[in-house]
């Protein structure tokens, strides 16, 4: 994307996430041509949009689109894409004999009727099925963050009631792209929290001076920025090597960075940040759930460590 084109693209998206959320945002994205941009310039479409969605606390079905794009499916809306359950990054379904057993999450698009794409783990391969959502049990999730608009999905569907599998997808590349998307969303939310805390530190006066003067406050906010920049650096680098390992590292750093941001910013905001009169609490809840989506920082970190310890080598990474 050219520089000027990118600016226009970003302005349009910024306006969309600030004005809409949920189905309204999906409609605005379609109008802005974001689904086409996703195919033409995946990096730009994902990094810009999900960062903005995170900072505006908006929600959409954009993640469905990302997953469909990554496995080469062009599914027309309103079909959704079943995501793994919270904390997992394995396919959300398994083939159990002649039955498809589904357990996962979805975005609000699943509630619109139509078919959902379900990727299932079969022997040595993964298969994608189009499953009518009427065959599945759907529960709109309230939970920690109702604004996220998640839907819990489960069900057991006889395989012969389904159309043959559509493609043999690469689940790994779907996870890679989803981890980057959620990673950018976490970074966007973390930057928004940092800005809220920064403004509060400059405005709040105690002992006759803004609390931004106090080194304990300054260092918490500096530490927050380091965590955010660390995550964003690896997110950006992940596009260059396309490696699932790098994407998982980026997601883990984004999750940890956002949780660190949440802890430090809440402390700086102090009392007001604990109330619903200030919007901080919505970010704190959002990043907690997003950290778990497609693998929590904690489990991704442990898995990486296990691979390194058993392989006894460090992968080459980020060549000049």
């Amino acid at each position: 994307m050219e520089h000027a084109e990118r600016d226009v693209f970003e302005r349009g998206l910024r306006h969309a996430v600030e004005a809409h959320t949920g189905a309204g945002l999906d409609a605005a994205l379609a109008e802005l041509g974001w689904p086409d941009a996703l195919v033409e310039d995946t990096q730009e479409a994902v990094s810009v949009f999900f960062g903005l969605q995170g900072s505006a606390l908006a929600s959409s079905s954009a993640l469905d689109r990302v997953l469909a794009c990554s496995i080469g499916l062009d599914v027309p809306p309103p079909a959704g894409f079943v995501l793994p359950p919270l904390g997992r990054w394995t396919p959300p379904a398994a083939l159990d004999g002649a039955r498809l057993v589904v357990r996962g999450l979805g975005t609000q698009s699943l509630l619109g009727g139509g078919d959902a794409v379900v990727v299932a783990q079969a022997v040595n391969t993964e298969l994608a099925f189009c499953v009518p959502t009427a065959e599945l049990t759907l529960r709109p999730v309230h939970g920690m963050d109702p604004g996220l608009g998640l839907v819990e999905v489960h069900g057991t569907v006889p395989k012969d009631a389904l159309a043959p599998e559509v493609v043999a997808p690469s689940w790994s590349s779907a996870v890679t792209l989803a981890q980057l998307a959620v990673g950018y969303e976490l970074v966007g939310a973390a930057r928004a929290m940092l800005e809220l805390a920064r403004q509060h530190a400059l405005a709040r006066v105690q002992f006759g001076q803004p609390i931004a003067r106090f080194q304990a406050v300054r260092h918490r906010l500096a530490e927050t920025l380091v965590g955010i920049e660390a995550a964003e650096g690896v997110l950006d680098a992940a596009w260059e090597d396309g490696s699932p390992v790098t994407a998982a590292v980026a997601k883990a750093l984004a999750g940890r960075g956002a949780r660190t941001a949440s802890r430090h910013c809440q402390q700086v905001l102090a009392g007001i940040g604990f109330t619903t009169e200030h919007e901080f609490h919505r970010y704190a809840k959002r990043v907690l759930v997003l950290d778990e989506l497609f693998g929590a920082s904690r489990s991704l970190t442990r898995e990486l460590g296990q691979d390194l310890v058993s392989g006894r080598r460090m992968p080459a990474f980020a060549p000049l």
Partner: protein, 376 residues
């Protein structure tokens, strides 16, 4: 010369000349060994041309992008041929000379540094001037044809080996802070200089106290203009946090790989290993983008404090993991490999102190990147 061409040519050359480059010492056991090894490697790589790429032709270089230098240091570090801390003085001090010395002086001196014929040191810190560099008091007064320097420096890395010193002096009034500082290029064999190496907890006397008593420095050894010393120092710091830092990242990656090979089964907690590895990913990704900005001619600034926080954090995290995973070796081992792990662990404790403490870096981030205003 493009980076890819340089990379494959250098890699081949390093493969073919490994025996020559390694010399007799597989692992240096003293700082003298490390210095001798550094001089050997610099001379061989200079004579083969590789050390000259990425430096301007007017100082004996062959031109080309600074990325070539970044890769050279990375490759030498990754193969364990040089210790990145002592190698980094080249990356930090050569650009200072190129930017601020007279063209004749730079053309004479920089090739000596690049070829390893000379060691240079950096006289910045003083007993009363740690984090608050602008308060330095080592005094230079004008005499016939030059300067007379009297005062004391401390934490001067490699001063006992150095032929030259890039020295910050006070030339303005004692309260002139950053305005009254002048940088000089001083011959370390001048009369009136006394060097006392400092014993450190890791066992290598890497830095010294340096005493100056009426040391005469010719006027043409002034770097930049009188009173411009603060700019010299500030322009030097981003080099510490760019190419030299990239080399250090390569070193940390190589040491973590070494730990993964050496640790007894079950000694490493996978969650800890994963977290440290992620830190190294973050450090390299960040430092690579800084390298690219430097190579494209961008002026580096306070954002490099993020790089510095990341490298210090990563270094201590890697060696905390060493202390856990190789606890017997670090605690009671007396073989050379154990000695090296122990020394490196102990040295890593300084990572959040030297080159601007972790606190100073966070102050810079708070003030310059987060715009939180002055802190006092």
């Amino acid at each position: 010369m493009e980076l890819d061409e340089f990379r494959s040519s250098l890699d081949d050359w390093l493969d073919q000349n490994e025996h020559l480059l390694k010399g007799e010492h597989e692992a240096a056991e003293t700082l003298d060994d490390q210095m001798a090894q550094l001089a050997r490697v610099k001379r061989l790589t200079y004579d083969a041309g590789y050390m000259r790429w990425g430096w301007p032709e007017r100082v004996g270089g062959l031109g080309g992008s600074s990325l070539l230098r970044a890769y050279l240091g990375e490759a030498l570090t990754f193969r364990g041929l040089v210790e990145p801390g002592i190698y980094s003085m080249t990356e930090v001090l050569a650009p200072t000379m190129i930017d601020y010395a007279t063209p004749e002086l730079a053309a004479t001196m920089v090739p000596r540094l690049l070829r390893g014929d000379e060691t240079w040191c950096q006289g910045f810190s003083e007993p009363g001037t740690g984090s608050n560099l602008a308060a330095l008091s080592c005094r230079a007064t004008r005499t016939d044809g030059g300067w007379s320097v009297t005062g004391q420096k401390v934490w001067t890395s490699l001063a006992q080996y150095a032929q030259r010193c890039v020295l910050l002096t006070r030339t303005g009034a004692s309260d002139s802070a950053h305005r009254g500082i002048t940088a000089l290029f001083v011959d370390m064999d001048s009369a009136g200089i006394e060097v006392r190496p400092i014993e450190t907890m890791h066992g290598f006397p890497e830095f010294s106290e340096v005493f100056f008593d009426g040391v005469l420095v010719p006027l043409d050894r002034t770097l930049g203009q009188e009173g411009q010393g603060w700019s010299v120092a500030m322009d030097l710091l981003p080099y510490e946090r760019s190419t030299a830092l990239w080399h250090r990242a390569a070193y940390l990656q190589q040491r973590l790989a070494g730990l993964l090979r050496a640790a007894p089964a079950g000694a490493l907690d996978p969650a800890d290993v994963g977290e440290v590895a992620q830190l190294l990913f973050a450090l390299r990704a960040r430092s690579r983008s800084t390298q690219r900005r430097l190579a494209s001619g961008e002026r580096l600034g306070p954002e490099t404090s993020i790089d510095k926080v990341l490298v210090a954090t990563a270094e201590q995290a890697v060696f905390d993991l060493v202390a856990d995973g190789l606890s017997v070796s670090v605690g009671t081992g007396d073989d050379p490999a154990s000695g090296r792990w122990r020394r490196e662990f102990l040295y890593s404790r300084a990572a959040t102190i030297y080159g601007g403490t972790a606190e100073i870096q966070r102050n810079i981030i708070a003030r310059r990147l987060l715009d939180l205003g002055a802190d006092r």
